[in-house]
């Protein structure tokens, strides 16, 4: 087992955060599988991308800061990237879903001739 010299003050909070992150990510993915239609399914994986990712990143920062005995902050890069990108993807998917649902509802003679 490597990483055997993580001190106790970092190991316990990191372990709690890791367990929380696992529970959050699993809840989000099960929600993605179990929800009924697309508009409710969009909500479920955001639990994994926000709470699960932040818990894992804070745990990783704690462990590596304790291992190298200096402040390690490069997890902030991933956190910022996820904060910026996951709403963009969700919004574009929602717009695509609405656009495709509207196109399916319109009768064929209104649609563009193709």
């Amino acid at each position: 087992m490597t990483g055997a010299d993580v001190p106790l003050w970092a190991a316990i909070p990191a372990a709690i955060l890791l367990v929380l992150a696992g529970v959050f990510a699993l809840t989000g993915s099960v929600g993605l599988l179990r929800m009924r239609d697309f508009y409710s399914r969009v909500h479920a994986p955001t639990l994994a991308t926000t709470l699960g990712a932040v818990c894992t990143l804070v745990a990783s920062g704690l462990v590596f800061s304790a291992l190298t005995t200096r402040l390690v902050l490069h997890e902030v890069v991933i956190a910022l990237l996820l904060l910026l990108t996951s709403p963009v993807t969700a919004m574009m998917l929602m717009r695509a879903a609405r656009y495709r649902a509207r196109r399916r509802e319109t009768p064929t003679d209104v649609r563009d001739p193709s």
Binding site: L8, P45, L93
Partner: protein, 93 residues
């Protein structure tokens, strides 16, 4: 006392892999195309978290770069597919 951290990372890994399985099932089953793209999004997020948990378990920061690259290229891929579903074209002239 690091058995606590070891088993917590193991538990998180199992949860992330189960989440990846759920997302893959939704991607195979999903009735519409946007369901599949959403499932792919959840799949790469769970894979990135699994990489971070691997890094915590092994104590090296090589896995961090892998996680960063997965986050970056996963965003590019799912946004390109959402744009394709929206407009029928990825790069517009």
């Amino acid at each position: 006392m690091n058995t606590v951290l070891y088993w917590a990372a193991w538990f998180a890994l199992v949860c992330f892999v189960l989440g990846m399985g759920c997302a893959a099932l939704r991607m195979l089953r999903g009735p519409t195309a946007q369901d599949r793209v959403l499932a792919l999004d959840a799949l790469y997020i769970n894979g990135m978290l699994a990489m971070l948990a691997f890094g915590i378990r092994s104590g090296t920061d090589v896995y961090f770069d892998v996680a960063l690259l997965i986050a970056l290229f996963g965003f590019v891929g799912s946004t390109a597919m959402a744009k394709f579903l929206l407009r029928g074209e990825v790069i517009e002239p």
